[in-house]
Symmetry: C2
Subunit: 378 residues, 2 copies
């Protein structure tokens, strides 16, 4: 039995770490339990903060949440960088979605019209205008949609900064697996039990096994390159029906992502997935072949029945923050703020209310009419 | 000043390590100087032992050396595995060179006829016969040449075994860079000088800088996969004019190699090279996409003006063993034996005599009429 805490958090990914930091800032005593904090999906994620270029029909509730969290990012980053003393690689240079043929161009025009109706900012560009912005683009690029509000962050630096800020705010980190949880305790692999005022499960794709909530891991491959100055902003496009994106960072890293696969808990890197990512990125940016290949990896996104997050309190009294699927990095600020409000005794804020776990049954069916499966991503 | 030795060897790749072991077996005291022994070209090499499938017109002297060394391999491996207590992953299941079109088939038939004239053993097979031997081969494979005498070894396990065997035989390993050498001393980065009866330079592509001998690094990319049972033997072919080979090991490793590039001393891994290796291997073996990708790497082969080794004594009294280009692993036994004979006061054996450094001037021109550039490999 170790000293009791106000909040015990199972899971040291971006969601768990950000919530730990926020809760500690509110004066709560916090422990984070994770065998290898920051080494799950957060370690693999490319870090796109793209509510606009990923806006899909029928997902207006989720879009609202995504935009809300994107809006929190500048202040979140400023506060976190000050608290941790480290940069998180936040880039506000925008995103350019490009079209390789007339069909793609029509899709971009339609997305542009949809964004206009929602009041989102984007500009349709000619192929020539795209190449003026990004000279490495293929001559076959026919058109583009420039979204200055879709940004990116380096998830590894974000995780490291959250860890440091949490540590400085008094968060305790327990490098162990949690073997059992109740609404007031977490038992560790070594047999220790931590008594807690509240218990939050933020274990990504492993949360369903801890809670009985529906959900599944959704595997994603990414390839990390090195090439300073290769791109000024995130470039994305649809090649052979698959979305591919290329995210540059100020430290010279360039990340190609991402596959979307239902492969269970397998995180092995497959030859075919790496090959396809390189092939598709090469189609958009032929000069990418000259860059250095640094790392190939695969991670597991926490998928939910409707691919929208599950944030709130379970019937058994435990709290949960999971199911962020492809938007975990983007949704970190709003999720941490909402969960901290709950943990401090408040209510789930209005923007998060539609994403309470109440909407799903333990049998895996969804009762939320406002957030449907994204569907367009591989 | 540390204790003097009979032989100081600069370079802890397969050539240096094997010579150290052999020299220690002959009763000589030996020191090997290398900052990171086994981490050069030996670390990246796929380990094909392929004198027959790599036989080229006009390279009969080199072919003789290659065949001689291949003939030494079984006893070399048996002795080394006994001395080290570890396996070196020696596979004698043969090599299958395949043709994807009629032109490739004609090249294989020509190579087959050439091999027959030289008395080398190989069999022309139909596409169906190839697929019976290797069911993962593409349906487009039209013909093949089976060479049961072309084997493979795991260079990393070979290096580790040589290190252990050398250590057990009394070889001293100095993990430092050599900053200067004479015929009787090696100076280390920390300022220490080792007095030696003989000094051998076996520093791969860095040997020219130490000796003034002509030579250059020839970069090669390889990709390491995991897939037990995927292939029974090495498969190679020519795709889009480039040689690609896939080497399986008994521990489940599968290695795709290799590019042949003149890029100076750069060992960074390039996106385009990995992409092309995967693409070309996929052409021969479509199912390779399902395997796990473990590692992408690049190393530097020690090239010489005629791509044949430089083994013998320099005018200044120092000994040299370098320039093994694409055949370093294959030529390890014969080189170690020949150099040890020299170091023990004997003569360069007849099979190695044509490869003395006497044939090249310090200006980089070749005087050897019997060994011309391979030319057919990318």
């Amino acid at each position: 039995m170790t000293a009791p805490v106000d909040v015990a958090i199972v899971g040291g990914g971006v969601i768990g770490l950000a919530t730990a930091w926020r809760a500690a800032q509110r004066g709560l005593s916090v422990a984070v339990v994770d065998q290898s904090a920051g080494r799950g999906a957060s370690w693999i994620a490319a870090g796109m903060l793209a509510p606009v270029t990923e806006a899909h029909y029928g997902e207006e509730a989720l879009l609202g949440l995504n935009l809300d969290s994107a809006g929190r990012y500048p202040a979140f980053v400023a506060e976190l960088e000050a608290a941790s003393g480290t940069s998180v690689g936040y880039s506000t240079s925008g995103t350019l979605a490009v079209a390789l043929d007339a069909g793609d161009r029509a899709v971009l025009a339609e997305l542009h019209a949809y964004q206009q109706r929602l009041g989102l900012d984007s500009d349709l560009l000619s192929g020539r205008e795209c190449r003026t912005l990004e000279p490495m683009l293929a001559p076959t690029v026919r058109a583009g949609l420039l979204v200055t509000g879709d940004h990116s962050v380096d998830p590894r630096r974000l995780t490291a900064a959250l860890h440091t800020a949490g540590h400085r705010a008094g968060v305790r980190f327990l490098e162990q697996q949690a073997t059992a949880t109740t609404s007031s305790s977490v038992t560790l692999a070594d047999g220790t039990t931590i008594a807690a005022g509240s218990v939050l499960l933020a274990a990504g794709c492993w949360t369903p096994a801890l809670t009985g909530l529906p959900g599944r891991p959704v595997k994603g491959h990414v390839v990390r390159l090195r090439g300073a100055g290769f791109l000024q902003r995130t470039v994305r496009g649809v090649v052979r029906g698959f979305d591919v994106y290329v995210v540059p960072r100020d430290d010279g890293e360039v990340v190609i992502g991402a596959t979307v696969e239902e492969m269970g808990f397998d995180t092995s890197v497959r030859v075919g997935c790496v090959y396809e990512l390189l092939r598709d990125a090469h189609e958009l940016l032929p000069g990418i072949t000259e860059l250095e290949l640094v790392e190939c990896g695969a991670g597991l996104r926490p998928g939910s029945p409707d691919n929208a997050p599950l944030v709130g309190r379970l019937a058994d009294g435990r709290f949960v923050a999971t199911g962020h699927y492809r938007n975990g990095i983007l949704l970190t600020p709003v999720t941490a703020d909402a969960v901290t409000e709950l943990l401090a005794g408040g209510q789930l804020p209005a923007v998060m209310a539609p994403f309470s776990p109440d909407r799903v049954s333990a049998h895996g069916t969804s009762a939320a009419p406002t957030a449907t499966q994204a569907g367009s991503m591989r």
